[in-house]
Amino acid sequence: MSIALKVENITVSYGNFIALDNVSLEFQEHTTLGLVGESGSGKSTLARVIAGLILPDEGQILLGSQTLSRKRSREQHKMIQMVFQNPDSSLNPKHTIRQILAEGLLFHNIVRHSQVENRCRELLFRVHLDESSLDRYPHEFSGGQRQRIALARALSVEPSILIADEPTSALDVSVQLSMLELLNTLKAELNLTMLFISHDLGVINAISDTVAVMRHGKLVEINQKERFFSHPETAYSYELLSAVPKMPISNR
């Protein structure tokens, strides 16, 4: 399997605070990497560096074989898309769903003007939303539906890498499961490589192939999912795993 993305020795500091300390990570193609850690451990900073929203102080990122320079081309930006934690603040409340989806399609010249309408319908179909949603505004949808719209927008430009930054933590447990299933099917259908960030280990277990643990801006452990959840290698991972509240009965 080839490597879709490679992060090499990334360091980011905010003033005196070191958010990322010499982080290196490889993403195998068509797999999901789950990134866990407490708040403030640098998970989201890493995601933003990869998406090009923050410039690292040191280190470089390789997308396939090409190095991503400080100024990325439009094509490079297109390849890496992101879904944010809170759909309320990532969708423009004054735009209809049609405008939200069409903007990316037109900006990156994915389809011709005449085809936009059709493509928007297809995208909504992919995320299991009705096509009558096109003329509605974000506030008319539930949190789970809004997160689906954000996902449709990220997928509209046909990225190869999708970064999901806690996409389910603002959602109810019952909605969370369907969102995870949707992400899994879309990943398989569209051959995506995914970086999935969460502090919920149950979610990570449900979606990842590889798990990486962060603490204080450093990568503590990178391991295969099965191995991580049964035999964690570091004391911190063990502590994290044993802190998860468990059901007194088995629910499967």
Partner: protein, 255 residues
């Protein structure tokens, strides 16, 4: 469940807006002294409203339309967002001492001593004794401990918890739950625990009430309810808790 002396009794509680839209309808709930009850359900199911109505803390525009609440105890509440529950302009020890001063009717000096004792029992750093700090200078977990200390300063017989761990990290979440549990063993107050996380609720509470669209659709002993859920919605909730495989501790863990 029949009891001679419940500490809190909610009968046929209905809450609604002015337009007669019912948000909570016909909720019955009895809390015995020292018992812990979990209210679970998704957002908008009326868990928090039910809890707030016990204290009379309903948001503007929402009224109690019928039913009554018999409260024989002293209530204190822990809120979801610790930073929102604390005064950002008042250092935490003074803030806690103020609650002690008004609720326990002691002198200013004694209230500060009691406050510091409370903080120590909740595992907050000793440095607070010398230098008081503002809520923004503490972590989320520490702020939540201050909020718990403030609730305990009221010497409650019922502790109302509104998702006290949702805003916290898993490791901190575990610590806060352990603290609440051990305090309950020590002081013997009753707990009404609102959460959407069934795993937390089942580890905290002896009895669970499942709420949906403003109604309690199922309630019972925790284990019984989880093993034998009758309502399809309860079954769905139980299924949506994502399982984790069992872990084994390797002998040589890297620090």
């Amino acid at each position: 469940m029949t009891s001679i002396n419940p500490i809190l009794k909610i009968e046929n509680l209905t809450l609604g807006t002015k337009t007669n839209h019912n948000l909570v309808s016909n909720v019955n709930l009895t809390v015995e002294p020292g018992e812990s009850i979990g209210l679970v359900g998704e957002s908008g199911s009326g868990k928090t409203l039910t809890l707030r109505s016990i204290l009379g803390l309903l948001p503007p525009g929402i009224k109690q339309l019928s039913g009554n609440i018999k409260n024989n105890g002293n209530c204190a509440m822990i809120f979801q967002n610790p930073l929102g529950a604390l005064d950002p302009l008042c250092p935490v020890v003074s803030q806690l001492a103020e609650v002690v001063y008004y609720r326990q009717k002691v002198t200013h000096k004694a209230s500060r001593t009691i406050a510091l004792e409370l903080l120590e029992s909740l595992g907050l750093p000793d440095s607070l004794k010398q230098t008081d700090r503002y809520p923004s200078q503490l972590s989320g977990g520490q702020c939540q401990r201050i909020v718990i200390a403030m609730a305990l300063a009221c010497k409650p017989s019922i502790l109302l918890c509104d998702e006290p761990t949702t805003a916290l990290d898993v490791t901190v979440q575990q610590q806060i739950i352990d603290i609440i549990k051990s305090l309950q063993r020590e002081l013997g107050f009753a707990i009404v625990f609102v959460t959407h996380n069934l795993a937390i609720a089942s580890s905290m509470c002896s009895r669970l009430c499942v709420m949906k669209e403003g109604k309690i659709i199922e309630q019972g002993e925790t284990l019984e309810l989880l093993q034998n859920p009758q309502n399809p919605y309860t079954q769905m909730l139980i299924h949506s808790v994502l399982p984790l495989p069992d872990i084994e501790r390797s002998v040589d863990l890297c620090p």
